[in-house]
């Protein structure tokens, strides 16, 4: 069973295994297919039309499935790798070990935003940005520039306390847990982190920055925490809703998976903060 760990707790070997697997997916072209898929949904998910990946109830299950597929690709390269999560309420400055040269590298230089250290620096020759919104082929970041502060624990707490998953009109103007977590309303959690990192993370091709996966692994964990806290609250809407994914509707682009299939993450992985399931423990 895959265990997703806090990135701050990874050993140097685990960090190296993760970044090496990322570089291998990049080399083979698998990585860029994920970027293309994400941007396609970014541009087609609209508040008044069909919406699957963003600004809609299926934001959380869609990204859970997207991350599962990506994690499986990583594990084809190295079966020991799991997606780490980035708890941005705790590791909230550009001096965090997350941004060190032995992990993701740091912020971009002032002149052009280019990341110049770490495994994904352009000069290293292994991380060309191919799926892009402009002519620049290098990874860019501007940590803390677009917005000064990452969300706080208190802000996360205020969103986790919301008892209703989502509400009509099921888009970026909705009240409820999903939209406050996604960040179109209120404290703004998920969206703000994209803006705080800056560079490609602020664009439709945000998965070009490997921190995308660690950010979304934490958003995914917050969904699981919300479920544990509100055991009587369910995914909404249940059925018959135009333009959005009901509980038992299949989601593009896979067309074989529904939100209902994805509600329990423990079918697929656990977090390092959870007890080890009996079945997994017995295999050790």
């Amino acid at each position: 069973m895959t265990v997703r760990k806090n990135q701050a707790a990874l050993t140097p070997e685990e960090k190296r295994a993760f970044t090496n697997a990322l570089l291998e997916l990049k080399r083979t072209g698998v990585y860029d297919r994920f970027v293309t898929t994400h941007n396609g949904f970014i541009m087609s998910d609209t508040d008044s039309g069909d919406r699957v990946g963003h600004r809609s109830p299926s934001f959380l299950p869609w990204h859970r499935r997207f991350l599962l597929e990506f994690e499986a690709a990583l594990q084809k390269v190295d079966p020991k790798v799991a997606l780490p999560y980035w708890d941005w309420t705790a590791d909230r400055t550009s001096r965090s070990s997350l941004w060190a040269p032995d992990f993701l590298g740091g912020t971009g230089r002032a002149r052009d935003g280019q990341v110049t250290d770490g495994p994904f620096a352009y000069a290293g020759g292994k991380w060309e940005v191919n799926v892009r919104v402009d002519g620049r082929a290098y990874l860019r970041r501007a940590l803390g520039s677009g917005v000064a502060e990452l969300p706080t624990k208190a802000e996360v707490e205020s969103v986790l306390s919301m008892p209703v998953y989502d509400m009509a009109p099921w888009n970026s103007s909705s009240n409820g847990f999903r939209n406050h977590l996604e960040g179109w309303r209120g404290a703004n959690l998920h969206n703000r982190v994209h803006v705080w990192v800056g560079g490609q993370m602020g664009t439709g091709v945000s998965p070009n920055d490997p921190v995308f996966w660690m950010h979304h692994a934490y958003v995914d964990k917050l969904w699981a925490e919300w479920q544990a806290r509100h055991p009587k609250s369910t995914y909404l809407p249940a059925a018959g809703t135009a333009n959005v994914i009901d509980l038992n509707d299949t989601m593009r682009p896979w067309n074989d998976v529904t939100p209902a299939d994805l509600l329990d993450h423990r079918k697929f992985y656990t977090f390092d903060t959870e007890p080890v399931p009996a079945a997994a423990a017995s295999q050790r």
Binding site: T36, T37, N39, G40, F41, I42, M43, S44, D45, T46, D47, S48, G49, D50, V52, R55, D112, G113, R132, V133, D134, G135, R136, G146, V147, P169, N171, S172, S173, G183, W184, H190, N191, R192, H194, V195, G202, T203, G204, S206, R252, P253
Partner: protein
Amino acid sequence: MNKITRRQALGTAAGALSALGTAGATAHAAAADSRASIPAGTVDEVYQGRRIRITPAESGGGHHGGHHGGGHDGLPTVRIDGRELHVMRNADGTWISVVNHYETYADPASLARAAVRELQGAVLAPFAPMGGTA
């Protein structure tokens, strides 16, 4: 701070007029002097050295060419140095683009200027809406 005032934006556009020569001068003068005579939402300005042109949806139907894809209808056409910027309108009336996807702007002009700042001189990639089939 990235925010600029309307007065500053107009000043930038007006300042750029003299450098542009005669080609676009009439349209620029109209924009500067009698803005009520052109469709609301039309923008033609130079911001940080980049040409921003915004055509409102109502008069924009004829020039989308082969760009027809899902979700583009009813939106203004925003161009930076001639390249189209993918923009979307949120339910609350705010705007985002593919360049600034996770923060909202009050109007297409503010959105286009934010894209110019983010581009730092880079050119937009060809406009390619995917129509949800990715």
